[in-house]
């Protein structure tokens, strides 16, 4: 963006909003919004404490297992759907249903099925992430250049060769953008899981701070969460740009 002929660095709007936030906080308009400086002070204060580190570890563990399984299941399922008409017709209605379903409402059912532990939280996380990954992998495969498929066949590729050497790579740009959106959704999933299933990890911190009206603590944890998901999303966006060179030429 340029303003009065000056080129502004990326995300300079954040600075503006930060200043506004600080002002609103300083004039004590509402207890809900403490000054930004106070939030960062709190962040430094709680950042090194054991409960915070443990919460971070618990959340990171559930998040990693959840998104990892979402990728391991979602990408192959999506590729198979894109490749095989029958599988596609069988699964597509369900994928579309769950993509738009209010998954939070399913969490109590998951608790009944899988208990109150890590397992349920991981499954919740995976459920938030997986559908968009499936749909994007499917879309990536469906736009594949047919002569690449014929090429692999004519040189004697087996079904597995075609999947791993052609379809996966041809769909990679779409797969990566699906994974990126899936990860962002998984952040929601893991927090909802940790709030509703068992009060652990960042969920427990949110619960604790919100119920005690410790708003600067609450915001500090939220900012950490935002920063972490932002870094992951940016890293995946970077990977996407790496494959950009062939995305437009398949």
């Amino acid at each position: 963006m340029t303003l009065f002929g000056y080129k502004l660095p990326n995300m300079s709007s954040l600075i503006l909003w930060g200043i506004l936030w600080e002002i609103v906080g300083q004039i004590e308009l509402t207890f809900f919004l403490p000054p930004l400086s106070e939030i960062f002070a709190t962040l430094i204060e709680i950042g090194g404490t054991t409960p915070f580190i443990n919460a971070l570890k618990e959340t990171a563990l559930a998040f990693s297992i959840g998104t990892f399984s979402a990728i391991c299941i979602g990408v192959p399922v999506g590729i198979l759907m894109g490749k095989n008409q029958l599988i596609d017709e069988l699964l597509l209605p369900w994928v579309n249903l769950f993509l738009s379903a209010p998954l939070t409402a399913l969490v109590p059912v998951l608790m009944v099925l899988f208990g109150f532990g890590l397992k349920s939280i991981v499954i919740t996380t995976a459920l938030f992430a997986i559908w968009i990954i499936v749909l994007n992998s499917r879309a990536g495969v469906r736009q594949i250049n047919q002569s690449l498929v014929e090429m692999s066949k004519s040189f004697g590729a087996s079904q597995l060769d075609a999947l791993t050497k052609i379809y996966f790579w041809a769909a990679l740009p779409e797969i990566l953008s699906g994974v990126r959106i899936g990860f962002i959704r998984a952040v929601k999933g893991v927090i909802i899981g940790q709030l509703l299933i068992s009060i652990v990890g960042f969920g427990s911190l949110f619960e604790l701070y919100a119920s005690n009206f410790l708003m600067s603590h609450f915001w500090a944890v939220l900012i950490v969460l935002f920063a972490l998901s932002f870094i992951i999303a940016e890293f995946l966006a970077y990977l996407e740009r790496r494959v950009d060179y062939y995305a437009s030429r398949r």
Binding site: L148, E150, M151, S154, G156, K165, W169, L172, Y246, R250
Partner: protein
């Protein structure tokens, strides 16, 4: 001379229907070993369909295709395909693209890259081994496609309008190089084209296909100028006569 009787590929009474449309009807054709046969005809005459049936990429509705006396059911190592749109993997370097056929056969990396390098050199792309397809011009990309087909050392090369997506000058160079390949490689070439001049220039045998329903109208074997220098072929009276004759017979089929 065994050359005239020995056919690398034989197409016998092939029919191909897409639903109720007849793409090929009772088509029979012989492809002599070590020679280049062109399939020439107006668009919609089923020449690419026939090529893909020979490749084993499409099943014939009835009839059979024999390669070295064996019935074709699927793609095999005795045939290699060169695609009109190159069909290169955009995520792979030139050398991996060229070695891809060998990679699928499970050949070790160093061995297949050695072979690939030899053919990259042969098609004149040395120095571009580690470039990616999007960094190459259209003509260079088709050279990669050609090197890939050569590297699997198939006896039959199937070429589907390989030069139609490259510019005119590159195309002429390709045609000259192709004559060299036919002479040196001792392979059987089946070459689909819609260009009359191209077919006459490169072919030992030209099969003219007509559409609706597809059939072989005529087989022409230019013989007088095949041994001539690549530069003088286009001035040969026989070359010019054949081009005229083919155009005269195809004219009525062009809308």
């Amino acid at each position: 001379m065994t050359k005239s009787t020995d056919n690398a590929v034989t197409v016998r009474n092939v029919y191909k229907n897409y639903g109720s449309t007849e793409a090929l009807r009772d088509l029979s054709l012989d492809f002599p070993r070590g020679q280049l046969t062109s399939l020439l005809g107006p668009s919609g005459c089923g020449k690419t369909t026939l090529l893909k049936i020979i490749a084993g990429l499409l099943p014939a509705t009835s009839g059979e295709v024999l390669v070295n006396g064996e019935v074709v059911k699927a793609p095999g190592p005795d045939r290699a395909f060169v695609f009109q749109d190159f069909a290169l993997m955009p995520w792979a370097s030139v050398i991996r693209n060229v070695a891809f056929g060998l990679e699928l056969r499970g050949m070790a990396k160093s061995e297949r890259e050695g072979i690939a390098e030899k053919y990259i050199n042969e098609v004149g792309l040395s120095g571009f081994e580690h470039s990616y397809p999007h960094e190459l011009s259209g003509g260079m990309r088709q050279r990669v496609g050609l090197a890939r087909a050569l590297s699997v050392d198939a006896q039959v090369l199937l070429m589907d309008e390989p030069f139609s997506a490259v510019d005119e000058q590159t195309r002429r160079k390709f045609q000259e190089d192709l004559l060299g390949l036919v002479k040196n490689e001792n392979k059987t070439f089946i070459f689909v084209t819609h260009s009359i001049e191209e077919a006459v220039y490169v072919s030992d045998q030209i099969a003219i296909l007509l559409p609706r329903p597809s059939r072989v109208m005529e087989i022409i074997r230019p013989s007088g100028f095949r041994h001539k220098d690549v530069d003088s072929i286009r001035r040969e009276p026989e070359y010019l006569d054949i081009v005229d004759r083919i155009w005269a017979s195809l004219r009525s089929y062009v809308e």
